[in-house]
Amino acid sequence: MNSQLLYNSLELYLVIGALLFAIGFYGILSGRTFISMLISSELVLSGASINFMAFNRFLAPDPTVGQIFTLFIMAIAAAEAAIALSIIIAVYRNYKSIDTDEMVELKG
């Protein structure tokens, strides 16, 4: 197997993972609504998963561990999305809005 090929370099996957992580970070910080922040947090989780899978493919002595960890990340992300969305819907019922800048009831 030729290791000079682009898709066989560990660094490229790490850069893609870091890029997804940073884009998701930017989305969480600048998100206007709760749902856009949730979408950005999925991007952060995907960036972390790509890192796990890349290390699993190129470096790990047991190449099943990274795959299983990624599957567990998916399950946790699905549970997190379900809980977060039902909280968002409950907030929308009470405030008729999901803007992050309008939830100021606890502000002193």
Binding site: L14, A18, E42, T64, L85, S86
Partner: protein, 170 residues
């Protein structure tokens, strides 16, 4: 003449491109439904990258769980709680630039760490990492985590139903 290697490389670059493009759409779109579509495009690209990382099973699960379930759930939430795009509370004009700067710093730090470190590969692997090995490991070494995940998912289902039912009379 196009060789098989360069064709595979082209497919890889397209997948990496739609991953990043989808992520940019997901964070920068004005309307939420477009952001969810961008997330779906991005996750399809991520599934393709998993395929390149010798894990077709994880790629299929990514399509099934993320693109199939999570994105559809978010679309349902957008339908039930659509924000009014014109009614935005005024936010500081600096906040966008500040979060952009922080994200650039995070990217440079993490990517720099990944590129500069001299990674050492393991000398040999204990198994091939194929699907049958994943299944064996799930039911032996990682069986405890496997069962705990199912409890977490059950609690998440019950919790989300309880949360979404509360205050329904209003």
């Amino acid at each position: 003449m196009i060789s098989a290697d360069s064709l595979t490389e082209l497919v890889f670059l397209v997948l990496a491109g739609i991953t990043v493009l989808g992520a940019l759409i997901a964070t920068n779109a004005k309307r939420l439904i477009r952001a969810v579509s961008g997330l779906a495009v991005c996750l399809i690209g991520v599934a393709g990258l998993y395929y390149f990382l010798h894990s077709p099973f994880v790629a299929l699960m990514e399509m099934l769980i993320y693109v199939g379930a999570v994105c559809v759930t978010i679309v349902f939430a957008v339908m039930m709680a659509e924000p009014f795009p014109e009614r935005h509370a005024k936010i500081s004009p600096l906040s966008g630039y500040l979060s952009f700067a922080v994200a650039i710093l995070v990217f440079v730090g993490v990517a720099g760490l990944g590129v500069k470190t001299a990674w050492k590969a393991a000398g040999s692997t204990v198994n091939s990492g194929a699907l049958i090995e994943v299944g064996k490991s799930l039911l032996t070494t990682n069986s405890m985590v496997f069962e705990l995940i199912s409890i977490v998912l059950l609690l998440a289902i019950i919790g989300s139903v309880a949360l979404a039912r509360a205050g329904r009379e209003k």
